[in-house]
C-alpha cells in the first residue's frame, strides 16, 4: 500500500509536470474558445450580406406574399418587360429572380414557376420560397372550390398526447430529450476520458520500457501495484486537467464574450428559437423533468460506471503498453479498444434512444466493454435495480480478470525487448 501511494504520487507528478500536459491544459480552453469565437464571427459574416431577390409576377397574386426581412429584400420588377427585368437582376447582382407565369392557378402546373440565379441558391432559402408559393396556391384553390378558409382554420385541431406511466406520473416528450441529453453526455464524456487518459497510461508504460527503468522498479514492487499506480496517478492527473478545463473554459468564455461583445447566448440560435417556441407550460415541464430525474441514482451510477469503465480500459491499455516496444507497434492492438467504445456509443445513440429497454440495449448494457457507456445512457430512462446489480457485478468481475491478465502480460511483456508480439504470443505469455 505504501508503495502504491508512492507510485501514484510519482505518476501524478510526472504527468502534471510534463510540458505537453501543461501546455495542453492551458491551451485547449483557449483553442476551444477561439474556435467558438471564430465560428460565431464567420456565421455573422455569412448572414450580414443582405440579399436582393427580384419578383416577376405575371399573375399578380403574390404581391403581398413576399415581405422584406432582415436578410432578404424583395423587389417587384413585374412592371418591366421580362427581358429587361432579367437583365437588371443580373446587372445589379440580385441574388435571384423569381418568375411566376400568368396562368399559374389555372394551369395547376407549379413547374412553370421559375427561379433564375447566377449560382444555385441555398437550401433553406428555396424551401422558404417554395413554402410561401405553395401555401398561397393551396389557399386560392381551396377558396375557388368553395371552402371557407376561416372555417378550415378553426377546424384544425392540435393534438398533444398527455404521456403518463401506469402509476399516473406525468411524463413528456421533453423528458425523453432531457434523459437523452444527460445519458448521451455521460457516455460521450466517458469515451473521451478513456481515449485520452487510457492512452496516457499506455504511453507511460512504454516510456518505462524504453527507458529500461522498469526492471529496477519491478524488482522493488509488484507489477500489479505498478500498473494500478499508473492508472490511478494518471486518472488523478486527468481529473485535475478536466477541472482546470472547466474553470478556465468558463472564465474565458465569460471574459471574452463581455470584452468582445459577442452575445454568447445568441450563438445557439436553433436551441434558443426552440426555447422561445416552448410554451410556459412546457418550460415548467422541462424544469420539472430535470428535477424529477433520479439524480442520486444518476450520480452514484455515473461514478460507478465511469470509474469501472475507465479502469477496465486502462488495464487493457496498460497491457498493450507492456506488450509492445514503441508506440507504432500499438496500432494492431487498438482495434479491441476502439471497436467496443464506438459500438457502445452507436448502440447508445441509436438503440437506447429508440427503445431504452429493448433487448439490444439490455444486452449491451450487460457486456462489460460496452456496459459503462450503454448503461449510463439507459439509467435516466429508469433501469431496474436488479439489472444494474448484474451489470455492475459483471463489470467488476471483468475488471478483476482483465487486471490479472494485464499484470501477467505486464510482468513478462515489460522485460521483453525487440520483439513485436502477436496475439498468439500474448496467449502464450499467459501460461508462463
Amino acid at each position: 500500500m505504501h508503495n502504491l501511494k508512492l507510485i501514484i504520487k510519482r505518476e501524478y507528478l510526472a504527468r502534471v509536470r510534463n510540458k505537453t500536459f501543461v501546455v495542453m491544459t492551458f491551451l485547449s480552453p483557449l483553442i476551444l474558445v477561439g474556435m467558438i469565437m471564430l465560428i460565431t464571427y464567420l456565421t455573422t459574416l455569412n448572414n450580414s450580406g443582405e440579399k436582393t431577390v427580384g419578383i416577376y409576377d405575371e399573375s399578380g397574386i403574390f404581391a403581398t406574399s413576399f415581405k422584406n426581412t432582415e436578410e432578404i429584400n424583395y423587389t417587384d420588377l413585374s412592371a418591366l418587360p421580362f427581358e429587361i427585368a432579367q437583365e437588371k437582376a443580373q446587372k445589379e447582382n440580385f441574388y435571384g429572380l423569381l418568375y411566376v407565369p400568368k396562368d399559374v392557378v389555372t394551369s395547376m402546373d407549379a413547374g412553370e414557376i421559375k427561379f433564375f440565379s447566377k449560382e444555385t441558391p441555398g437550401f433553406t432559402f428555396l424551401e422558404n420560397i417554395e413554402r410561401k408559393i405553395s401555401e398561397k396556391l393551396t389557399n386560392i384553390k381551396l377558396a375557388n372550390s368553395g371552402v371557407d378558409l376561416n372555417q378550415l382554420e378553426s377546424a384544425e385541431t392540435n393534438v398533444n398526447l398527455d404521456l403518463q406511466n401506469y402509476s399516473g406520473v406525468h411524463t413528456s416528450r421533453i423528458s425523453s430529450y432531457v434523459k437523452m441529453f444527460f445519458g448521451g453526455a455521460a457516455g460521450y464524456l466517458l469515451m473521451m476520458f478513456i481515449i485520452i487518459y487510457g492512452n496516457m497510461v499506455m504511453r507511460s508504460v512504454i516510456e518505462e520500457k524504453t527507458n529500461r527503468i522498469v526492471e529496477i522498479i519491478i524488482s522493488s514492487v509488484k507489477p500489479i501495484h505498478l500498473m494500478w499506480g499508473k492508472i490511478l496517478g494518471t486518472s488523478f492527473a486527468g481529473i485535475t486537467q478536466f477541472i482546470i478545463w472547466l474553470i478556465l473554459g468558463g472564465v474565458l468564455l465569460l471574459v471574452v464574450s463581455s470584452v468582445v461583445g459577442i452575445d454568447v447566448s445568441a450563438m445557439e440560435t436553433p436551441q434558443k428559437q426552440a426555447m422561445e417556441q416552448m410554451s410556459q407550460n412546457e418550460m415548467q415541464q422541462l424544469i420539472f423533468d430535470i428535477a424529477s430525474l433520479p439524480i442520486l441514482k444518476l450520480i452514484l451510477f455515473f461514478l460507478i460506471y465511469f470509474i469501472g469503465g475507465y479502469f477496465l480500459y486502462s488495464a487493457i491499455y496498460a497491457a498493450i503498453g507492456a506488450a509492445v516496444d514503441n508506440e507504432t507497434d500499438t496500432q494492431q492492438f487498438m482495434l479491441p479498444i476502439i471497436l467496443p467504445l464506438m459500438l457502445g456509443i452507436y448502440v447508445g445513440f441509436f438503440s437506447v434512444i429508440e427503445n431504452p429497454h429493448g433487448s439490444i440495449s439490455t444486452i449491451f448494457s450487460m457486456i462489460p466493454l460496452t456496459s459503462p457507456i450503454v448503461m449510463l445512457m439507459r439509467i435516466p430512462f429508469g433501469v431496474p435495480w436488479w439489472e444494474l446489480l448484474i451489470s455492475v457485478i459483471i463489470l467488476v468481475t471483468t475488471i478483476w480478470g482483465v487486471a490479472w491478465i494485464a499484470s501477467k502480460i505486464y510482468r513478462i511483456g515489460i522485460l521483453m525487448y525487440g520483439k513485436k508480439p502477436s496475439y498468439k504470443e500474448l496467449y502464450k505469455w499467459l501460461k508462463y
Binding site: I7, R10, A14
Partner: protein, 309 residues
C-alpha cells in the same frame, strides 16, 4: 561460513525454450560470487528469479534459510544489465523515489543520498535531469540506487559494461568496500577476467545448465596441469630441448622476455615436485624464468564447455 542465498534445482522454461535446467547455487555470506557464462546462458533469468521478477517452474530459493518472499526484496539491491532511469525526472528525486520504494523513509533516504553523492562526487547533479547526463554518469546514479538501502545481497548484472576505465575502477573499489562492510555480492558477467580479480566463488552456466561451481582457488587448483613455463639460456638450445623431451612433456611457447631464451612449457607428473624440475634445469642451463602455469578462468571455461559438448 553460512550461505546467504541458496537456489535449489531451479528450472525455468519460456514456452518451448528451457532457460534454466536444474541449476543450484549456494552463495556464502560475505563472499563475492561470480555467475559466469556466455550471453544467453541463463544468467539473467536466474538473477530475475532471485529478484522475484520471474518465478521458477521448479525449484526453491532460500534467503537466510527462509523461503524467498516479497519482504526480502528490501534486502536485495539489483543493478540490471539493461539499465535506465526516468529521463525527465531530476536525479535526486528519482533516487529518492526508488529508495522509498525499497522501504526507506524520506529522511533516511535523503541522508544516505547525500553520503553517496558526496562519496562518488556527483552531488552537483542532484537537480539535473537524467537526459542531461552522459551514459557513464547515469550509471553512477544507478549504482547509488542499487546500494542505497544497504542490502544484504547485492546483485550486479554485467556491472562494468558501459563504464569507462576510470569509473569502472571506482565502481570496482566500491564493490570491494561493500564486501568489506559485510555485504554479499552476486555478480554476473561474460567477461571472465573480471572474475579473477573479484570473486571468491564462481558458478559456470552454459546453455541453461550449471557446469561447474565452487571456490575460485579450488577450481583453479583442480584444473591446474602441473605445467611450468620456463625460459632457459644455453648455448645449444636444440640439444637441451631434446634432453628435456625425453624426460618430460614439453611444448614450445612464447612470452615476453629480454633474453634470447629457449621458451618452453614443461609438464611434470602429478606427484612430481617443481623443485625436482628446477634442479634438473639448473644442471643444464641458466634459468631466467620459472612460473607455474595457473589456468585462467577463461581456460577453465573453454575446457569445461568443450568437455560437455
Amino acid at each position: 561460513m553460512p550461505n546467504l542465498l541458496v537456489a535449489e534445482k531451479i528450472t525455468k522454461s519460456f514456452g518451448g525454450f528451457k532457460a534454466l535446467n536444474d541449476v543450484s547455487i549456494s552463495i556464502p555470506e560475505g563472499s563475492v560470487f561470480g555467475l559466469l557464462g556466455p550471453n544467453g546462458a541463463g544468467k539473467t533469468t536466474l538473477i530475475r528469479i532471485i529478484n522475484q521478477i520471474a518465478f521458477p517452474d521448479h525449484g526453491k530459493i532460500f534467503l537466510d534459510d527462509e523461503p524467498l518472499q516479497q519482504k526480502h526484496i528490501k534486502q536485495i539491491g539489483y543493478l540490471p544489465e539493461e539499465r535506465g532511469l526516468y529521463k525527465n525526472m531530476k536525479v535526486g528525486e528519482q533516487v529518492l523515489y526508488l529508495a522509498q520504494l525499497k522501504g526507506l523513509s524520506k529522511e533516511e533516504a535523503k541522508e544516505r543520498i547525500k553520503y553517496w553523492f558526496d562519496r562518488l562526487e556527483i552531488a552537483s547533479w542532484y537537480d539535473k535531469k537524467i537526459a542531461e547526463l552522459s551514459k557513464g554518469m547515469a550509471q553512477k546514479v544507478q549504482f547509488v540506487v542499487t546500494v542505497l538501502h544497504k542490502p544484504k545481497l547485492l546483485i550486479f548484472d554485467e556491472p562494468f559494461s558501459g563504464f569507462d576505465p576510470v569509473n569502472a575502477e571506482i565502481i570496482k573499489d566500491e564493490i570491494l568496500q561493500l564486501k568489506k562492510d559485510g555485504a554479499t555480492i552476486l555478480f554476473s558477467t561474460h567477461r571472465m577476467e573480471s572474475v579473477e580479480e573479484l570473486c571468491d566463488y564462481m558458478a559456470l552456466i552454459h546453455k541453461s545448465n550449471k557446469l561447474l561451481d565452487g571456490k575460485v582457488s579450488e577450481i583453479k587448483r583442480a584444473y591446474k596441469s602441473n605445467t611450468y613455463e620456463v625460459g632457459l639460456e644455453t648455448t645449444d638450445s636444440k640439444a637441451l630441448k631434446l634432453t628435456l623431451q625425453q624426460k618430460f612433456n614439453v611444448r614450445e611457447t612464447n612470452f615476453n622476455s629480454i633474453n634470447k631464451d629457449l621458451k618452453l612449457r614443461i609438464q611434470i607428473d602429478p606427484d612430481g615436485s617443481p623443485n625436482d624440475l628446477l634442479q634438473f634445469l639448473l644442471g643444464h642451463a641458466q634459468v631466467n624464468h620459472f612460473v607455474e602455469v595457473i589456468p585462467s578462468v577463461n581456460d577453465i571455461f573453454i575446457q569445461t564447455v568443450k568437455a560437455n559438448a
